[in-house]
């Protein structure tokens, strides 16, 4: 196994969340193919192996164990902070018990801040801005919008959703004490089929703005229900752009009312990213959604392995944990913070609506796309961490 770098991608490949999981795997394969065509990393080929965790923490551990038994040393996961936390704990334990065969966990989307704070680990890297970081940026944006008076929070009832709500409450209070939070709702994760009762509540509360961390169908169904009952508010979201979201927004006909904060969109006019997006879209015609976070994670991993000249996590982590990097979406300045292994990168706030003439990327063949409405540079997103990292001596 010395001549291949095995990367275990542990994410849902069947069941409810498979749509997002599959997109991630597609992108991993796409990246690996590109690298392999150029001769690989340090002459070694990249092999991406998908492991289906059915978005269940316990199954994830079984799959990680399986991956390790099959010679994988690098675990990549993103979907779900509950899963992420379980893997983080497992990796920590595993490395402690197997001091001569380390594994590393590259997290591209599980962004519960706990993962890089109280339960941070030397063997874990977070490539997406965590909930607090994103909320910091988002509230900075909201701060300038005078028309926002009443905010409603609706989130999924699990660690990530609670993290979103908590940070929203505290940061809004600090930055815009005049804003009234008229609702702070949690609903079960992927169990609700009919969101109209929630919409009725939002409407009754008189909110003008909703902030939500919902993703997947919890987002699509929410936005559709809102559209159907004519709820007249603006939406600030974390994941409106993920699989299914754009279709739903288009169906709800919410032109320019849905905002998203993330690490990048296709319509930033940055040629390298646009080319990659086109190539990718040509291969994966059915699901051309692109997650820059995955490109960031992989590129940085490869850079670290190249620099360290080894695919052994123990050897390349020192390179990775203090790396400076130009982010995928627009080449913006980014850096990995050594204290908690959190990547800081430029974040973008964008709005969804019909494409302008100079924009070339629509989403999910809807004819609508993302337009940048705000940008926060990496250094403006830095917030302190409580991480007390245990480093191997």
């Amino acid at each position: 196994a010395a001549d291949t770098i095995k990367i275990g991608y542990v994410d849902p490949l069947s069941g409810g969340a498979a749509s997002i999981g599959q997109i991630g795997l597609n992108q991993m394969n796409f990246i690996a193919d590109a690298v392999n065509k150029k001769g690989g990393i340090n002459g070694e080929q990249i092999e991406v192996i998908g492991y289906d965790n059915q978005i269940n923490p316990q199954t994830s551990l079984v799959q990680v164990q399986k991956a390790i038994d099959e010679g994988v040393r690098i675990i990549v996961q993103g979907n779900g902070s509950s899963v992420g936390a379980a893997i983080e704990g497992f990796v920590e334990k595993y490395n402690r018990r197997n001091p001569d065969a380390h594994i590393v966990y590259l997290n591209y989307a599980a962004i519960d801040p706990a993962m890089t704070n109280e339960s941070c680990s030397y063997w874990h890297f977070s490539f997406d801005a965590n909930t607090n970081v994103k909320m910091e940026a988002l509230t900075n944006f909201i701060k300038q919008r005078e028309e926002i008076k009443k905010v409603y929070l609706i989130d999924q009832d699990y660690s990530f959703g609670h993290a979103v709500a908590e940070s929203a409450v505290s940061m809004l209070k600090e930055k815009r004490p005049d804003i009234e939070i008229v609702g702070n709702e949690f609903h079960p994760l992927v169990k609700i089929t009919d969101f109209s009762p929630y919409i009725a509540k939002i409407k009754a509360s008189g909110a003008d703005t909703v902030i939500t961390g919902n993703w997947g169908q919890d987002f699509s169904l929410l936005i559709k229900a809102a559209g159907q009952s004519g709820l007249d508010v603006n939406w600030y979201t974390y994941y409106a752009g993920a699989a299914g979201g754009p279709t739903a927004i288009k169906q709800a006909n919410m032109d320019g009312r849905v905002f998203q904060i993330n690490e990048g969109i296709s319509n930033l006019g940055y040629a390298p990213a646009e080319n990659t997006a086109r190539e990718y879209g040509a291969v994966y015609k059915d699901a051309p959604v692109l997650f820059p976070r995955i490109f960031n994670a992989m590129t940085m991993l490869f850079m670290a392995i190249e620099a360290a000249g080894s695919q052994d996590p123990a050897v390349f982590i020192p390179k990775l944990e203090s790396m400076d990097y130009a982010s995928f979406s627009a080449g913006g300045e980014s850096f990995m913070r050594k204290d908690d292994h959190q990547l800081f990168q430029p974040l973008y706030i964008s709005a969804f609506g019909p494409l302008a003439n100079d924009q070339s990327f629509d989403e999910e063949h809807t004819g609508w796309g993302w337009t940048k409405v705000g940008e926060i540079s990496a250094k403006d997103t830095v917030i302190p961490t409580t991480c007390e990292m245990k480093r191997p001596s």
């Binding site: 409810g16 749509s19 089929t193 739903a248 699901a287």
Partner: protein
Amino acid sequence: MFEILFISTINGILYGMLLFLMASGLTVIFSMMGVLNLAHASFYMLGAFFGFEISQHFGFWSGLVFAPLLVASIGMIVERYGLRNVHRHGHVAELLFTFGLTFVIQEIVEMVWGKLPVDYRVPASLDFSAFTVFATTYPAFKMFALLVSVVIFLALLLVIRRTRIGLIVQAALSHPDMVGMLGHNVDRIFMLVFGVGVALAAVAGVIAGPVLVTQSNMAGLLGPILFVVVVVGGLGSLGGAFVASLLIGLVQTYAVAFNVSLADVFGSSPLTGEFALYFNDLWNVTVAQIAPIMPYMLLVLILIFRPRGLMGTSNR
């Protein structure tokens, strides 16, 4: 307050009728054949995807007609070459058969339509708002769904009352051979019933598809709630299923509307110390948060105190 009550009532009715639309076929199959069709939601999904595909080419209305027909024929094939042979091995075997079927249908749907949601839209002819109350608009399409539910309910009532099919199937549950020897083609009737049952699921799929998300996981999402409807209503009772759908729709909708927890009623928790942490989860939980589990509470309570369900006749 009145506003939210009023809106909740309408929402509850609309949701309840959608539930009934989905559950009606299950009631038919469950009550008549005694088969707990775990694949019912899968046929519902097939209906949605067929509806989507047909509407792409021939418009929504052809989808509404042909998707159920297509699903019915698939259902009848499944019954003829699968379920029928399993029947004699008992209910558990039938149940597992349909369980296996859910995997197969799910994978086939993913093969054909992928894992991403498809863009299945409300037809233009129904894409307007029917009426507005308290600034909440109600789309015409939802009214249409309501109408279809009621029509199906009435039609099924009529068919079951007026024909002997119900009798024959019920008789066949205890002595299938004897029914045959009285000159009834039990096999064909079972096939028909199953076909009709899954066709109803497909109708629900065609209609719910545009309202909800048409995606390869939509079957799993529907989950056991349909069984709750059928059982709470009472096995073998269509009227029961109808009432139970409404009841569950309303209960869930109202529950979401109430943000009260024990803490709101009695003040903050009386306990302190380490144990309080765990206890307070209970103390602080709002009615809204437990809305999704209310149907199951209802199910357990009903079965304990009235095992034959709201309107069921037998407690098989």
